[in-house]
Structure formats: structure tokens, C-alpha cells
């Protein structure tokens, strides 16, 4: 990483040149920059250029790490749309950068610090103009190093603690969600659930559901009617991840799963990523009770794909009721997140509890992005990599936040990212089996230039 880390120490930058890292596509922008040089055009010296084979090569992880290392601005330049040497690389770049820029904003890093644009090999002047403009914008912002490495975050957290204890603003009411009173036979939905599971047992290898034994609830693969008196409804567990595991171990045969709306959405996304085999799966929907909806602050608690739905669907919680705690200004947002992530013990529970985290090689374990042995993990890489990876994947099951020992309200970011995915790409995560997520699309024709 030392190669791209800015050499200039900007910690005492008052009006001095900011440190800007530019990722330039080898086939166009890099040559455009060359042309600007040979044409003796003037542009600010604050830019450090990194040549990349394609702007589509610039991973969000890379941009985040560069910010963490102290870059005040990141400039990504690629070919004009339709002129990518690899056909679709710059389309991918635009999608990523659009999302990443908004995410940076929610995370308290001014979105203006990230800019992407298009420069062809013939556009030396355009290159010089973009660099000058961007440099001017970044110069108007405070140096990032002094802000990310704030020493007084402990005190900020202490100060924000009373507010954080009242959970009304959270995307999940951690206190309620952790009220793990076992719900079994006494629940009004139990007889119908029992019937549905008993029926499914007849023509399935097993039914994955929750089982209550000795006052304790855990996922279980029911295979005999004799066990069904132990069926339970709460507390919920990340069942989609278990479906994947079971189907992996048994390449044939049908399974049934009792799933809530969030788990159903999770299975839809996993099916699109070929993590579960939808054709070998029967869904028994479970509509969450009003109490459960409130605990998870769930916006869409009604199962949609399941053939059978147990229980009466309850209306969801409106999105504007939560997220109110996310402060308005970048400065306050940064203080808010720094105060929370200071508590992170890097236990990876958010990753481990997430059914959508199924990559073989996890970016959060890659030393290129996440340094070993640093606790709490430096902001923003660790938390924002997970957040950007949740684009088009997070189905708001809240398992991550419920599992977080530090109670970091991380799903606020995931929820914002999901809203952006809807807004920018019209993609509703976890709903339609036929529509591919923006991250999987081969070639985009609809990118605005």
C-alpha cells in the first residue's frame, strides 16, 4: 500500500496543497495526462497518479484504504462510456463510485472527496481542467488525516451514550430484539405452523425450522412428526445460511424451510448468486407478529414467495421513523460513527451472522485492506467494506446488528445503501427472482454520462 499512500503529511494542512490520489486508466486517461504533460499544460501538483489497467479495476476497498491512509481526495478517471478497452469496465466503475460516494457521505466523509470522470487519450486539456477543479474542491475541505485520527472520540462516545441507550432511533431495537423469551406452543401461530410443517414432512427430506428444547431455541432439521411438539417461533436465527450448508452437503432431494420475510429475501438473493438451489426448496412463510416487527424495525414483514404463509401479515415500520439519529453534517456524522466504531472488538460477528456473506475469500480478512492486530480497526475501511459489499445484498434481517457485542448501529449504513440501490438502479433487494442485481449485470446500457 505504501505505493499509493500519500507522501505529503497533511495533518497540519492549513491552505497547503491537499494530497490527491488519481487512479487513471491505462488506455485513455493516463495517455490524456501524458498529453497534458507534453502540451505543457499546467495543473496542480497535488495529484499523485496511479496507473491502472482499467478504471473498473478500482475496487471500493482500494478507495477506502486510500482515504484511511490520509488521502484528502480520490480521483478515478476512465474511458468515455462506450469506449472501454474491456467493453464494460467503466460501466462497473460508475456503478461502484456512485454508490461509494453516497456511502462516504453517510459515513461522515465528504462525498466531494471522491470524483470520477472520463478522459480520452486526446483530451489533455480536459484532464488538466478536471484535476484543477477537483484540487480546488478538495482544498476547500479540512485535511482528512486530522479528522479520521481524532483522539477525542472516547469522549465523543461518552457524550453520545445517553442518546444511544434510548434505542428508538435505531434500525433495529437491540434491546427488544434481544428479548429472547422463547415463543413456542403458546403462540397463536403455533397450530398452523405445526400443520404446515407436518404436511411438508410427507414429501421433503426434512424441514428446517426452530426447535425449542430445555428452554432453549436453535435451528433444527425436522425429519419426523415425533419431534414436531418442539417447534418454536422465536428467537429467529439466520436460517438461509443453514439452507445453503444443508443443500451443499446433499446435492439431491427437496428441503422445506420455515422462513420469515427477511429470510425469504435472503434466500432469493442467495439463489441469484447460486448459493442455494431454489428449485429444491419449499418455503413455508411465517408472518412476523407486531411485536417481532417492532423489535427488528422491519419495513417488509410479509412473506411474498412462500406458497403457505402462517400468521397474519403485520404492517411494516416506516423507514422515516428510524435513521433519525444520523446527523445532518459530515462532521457530526463522522463523530457519530467514530464514537461507535471505537467500541468495535473486530469479532467479525457482523460478517459471520450474515447469510449474504458467503464469499470464499473475505475482503475483511485480506491484509491488503484490513491490517492485522489493530484494535479497534481503523475507520473507515473495516466497516465500510462490509457496507459497500451489502449493496444489492442486504435484505435487512438485522442478524449482524443483533449479534454485535458493541451494538454498533451498522444497519443504518446498509439501509441507506439499499435505498440508494433502489434509487440509482431500480433494484429492490430480495424481491424479484428474475431481476439480476446491479453487481451481477454483465453490461449496463443505462449509465448517465
Amino acid at each position: 500500500m505504501s505505493e499509493v499512500a500519500p507522501v505529503r503529511d497533511t495533518s497540519e494542512n492549513d491552505g497547503c496543497e491537499p494530497a490527491i490520489i488519481g487512479f487513471l486508466c491505462n488506455w485513455c486517461s493516463y495517455r490524456g495526462a501524458d498529453l497534458a504533460g507534453t502540451a505543457r499544460l499546467k495543473y496542480p501538483a497535488s495529484l499523485r497518479v496511479v496507473r491502472v489497467p482499467c478504471s473498473g479495476r478500482v475496487a471500493p476497498e482500494l478507495v477506502l484504504r486510500v482515504f484511511q491512509e490520509g488521502a484528502d481526495g480520490v480521483l478515478v478517471l476512465g474511458c468515455h462510456i462506450g469506449e472501454c478497452h474491456y467493453h464494460e469496465g467503466n460501466h462497473r466503475m460508475v456503478r461502484r463510485m456512485q454508490l461509494l460516494q453516497r456511502l462516504l457521505g453517510y459515513a461522515g466523509i465528504e462525498p466531494e472527496r471522491l470524483r470520477w470522470d472520463y478522459v480520452s487519450a486526446a483530451e489533455g486539456e480536459r484532464f488538466a481542467r478536471i484535476v484543477s477543479e477537483f484540487s480546488e474542491t478538495v482544498r476547500g475541505l479540512p485535511p482528512i488525516k486530522s479528522r479520521l485520527r481524532s483522539d477525542d472520540t472516547r469522549e465523543v462516545w461518552q457524550a453520545s451514550r445517553p442518546e444511544s441507550q434510548d434505542g428508538s432511533w435505531r434500525t433495529v431495537n437491540v434491546a427488544d430484539a434481544r428479548d429472547y423469551a422463547v415463543r413456542g406452543k403458546e403462540d397463536a401461530r403455533w397450530p398452523a405452523l405445526h400443520e404446515a410443517v407436518a404436511e411438508a414432512l410427507a414429501d421433503h427430506a426434512g424441514v428446517l425450522a426452530l426447535r425449542s428444547a430445555h428452554g432453549d431455541v436453535a435451528p433444527h432439521l425436522f425429519q419426523s412428526r415425533d419431534e414436531l411438539h418442539e417447534l418454536a417461533l422465536w428467537p429467529k436465527y439466520p436460517l438461509p445460511a443453514i439452507v445453503r450448508r444443508l443443500q451443499d452437503s446433499q446435492p439431491e432431494g427437496r428441503l422445506a424451510v420455515v422462513c420469515r420475510a427477511c429470510e425469504e429475501r435472503g434466500l432469493v438473493e442467495m439463489a441469484k448468486h447460486r448459493q442455494v438451489d431454489w428449485a429444491r426448496l419449499t418455503l413455508i412463510g411465517l408472518a412476523c407478529s407486531a411485536e417481532e416487527v417492532e423489535a427488528c424495525r422491519c419495513a417488509q414483514p410479509a412473506p411474498f414467495h412462500a406458497g403457505v404463509v402462517v400468521g397474519e401479515p403485520t404492517p411494516g415500520v416506516a423507514a422515516d421513523r428510524v435513521l433519525a439519529a444520523l446527523p445532518e453534517t459530515s462532521e457530526d456524522r463522522l463523530a457519530f460513527w467514530l464514537s461507535w466504531v471505537q467500541r468495535c472488538i473486530k469479532c467479525y460477528a457482523c460478517r459471520n451472522a450474515c447469510p449474504q456473506c458467503f464469499c470464499h475469500a473475505c475482503a475483511l480478512e485480506d491484509e491488503l485492506w484490513v491490517e492485522r492486530g489493530r484494535l479497534p480497526p481503523p475507520y473507515p475501511v473495516f466497516h465500510l467494506i462490509k457496507a459497500i459489499h451489502m449493496a444489492g445484498k442486504c435484505v435487512a434481517c438485522r442478524e449482524c446488528e443483533i449479534a454485535c457485542p458493541a451494538e454498533i448501529p451498522i444497519t443504518v449504513l446498509y439501509r441507506m445503501v439499499s435505498q440508494d440501490v433502489e434509487e440509482l438502479f431500480g433494484y429492490h433487494t430480495g424481491t424479484d427472482l428474475e431481476v439480476l442485481p446491479p453487481t451481477l449485470l454483465k453490461l449496463e446500457q443505462d449509465v448517465e454520462t
Partner: protein
């Protein structure tokens, strides 16, 4: 196919967070936090989340090894226990019971740990025993 969960306590430290071991066809394949546990309430640290890793680990010791001429060779239990008894007896007669120290493991059961401290105190005659889960 058989899948069930076994409720247990995390072996790594003295907190003893509640967890489920996921058992698939007789093999432990994962960990889930026990949400109904009154203390840990469905939370685990990174150790707990990976507490299943050593169970079927290929490098896990499955039989006693005795170092002969600098090389570890597998041996029978009788052979190993005889050697341990002989050498512990020698140390004890030469330096007294406090010449021996015993380190126990967090990766065996509470009962096994109890037995080891009984053995240490009653048979070896020393209080020199400690345990890596005593955080």
C-alpha cells in the same frame, strides 16, 4: 441427512458465553450464538465464533507422541503413561512436589479439568496448576 444443534458453553475463557455447535451428519460444522443465554444474549467474540475450528482439525493430536532422538513418534497410551509416571516420580523425589507444575487446557471439559486439579493436588501434592481459560 441429519442436522441439529448442541447447546454448550464457549471453551475459550472464563465468561462462558452460550453457543450452539451445528452438527451435520455427525460432524461439527459451525457455531451459532445461543440467543437465549441469559448472559451472552446471542453475542460471541471472534474466539467463540471460531470455536469449532479445532474439533476436526487435521493437525489435532489423536494419539500420544514421545520424542525419541529429537523426533516425535507415535506411541501407545500405556507406553506414554508409563513414561509420564516414571519421569514425574523422578522429578518429585528429586525436587519435591513443588518441582512440578501443571498446565491444563481450555479445550477439554470442565470435568476433565476438575480431575486434573484433583490429580495435581492429591496425587502429585502441589498447588502448581493453572489453566488458560482463567482470564
Amino acid at each position: 441427512m441429519n442436522y441439529h444443534n448442541v447447546r454448550t458453553a464457549c471453551i475459550y475463557c472464563g465468561v462462558g458465553c452460550g453457543m450452539h455447535l451445528e452438527v451435520l451428519d455427525g460432524r461439527v460444522v459451525g457455531v451459532l450464538p445461543a440467543k437465549t443465554h441469559p448472559v451472552s444474549e446471542g453475542r460471541l467474540c471472534i474466539k467463540g465464533w471460531s470455536a469449532d475450528a479445532f474439533i476436526h482439525h487435521p493437525e489435532r493430536l489423536t494419539r500420544p507422541l514421545i520424542r525419541r532422538n529429537g523426533v516425535l513418534e507415535s506411541a501407545s497410551w500405556d507406553e506414554a503413561l508409563d513414561l509420564v509416571a516414571k519421569r514425574l516420580g523422578k522429578v518429585r523425589s528429586e525436587f519435591g512436589p513443588d518441582g512440578i507444575g501443571v498446565l491444563s487446557s481450555a479445550k477439554c471439559t470442565n470435568e476433565e479439568n476438575y480431575l486434573l486439579q484433583r490429580f495435581t493436588r492429591a496425587v502429585l501434592g502441589t498447588n502448581n496448576i493453572d489453566h488458560c481459560a482463567r482470564l
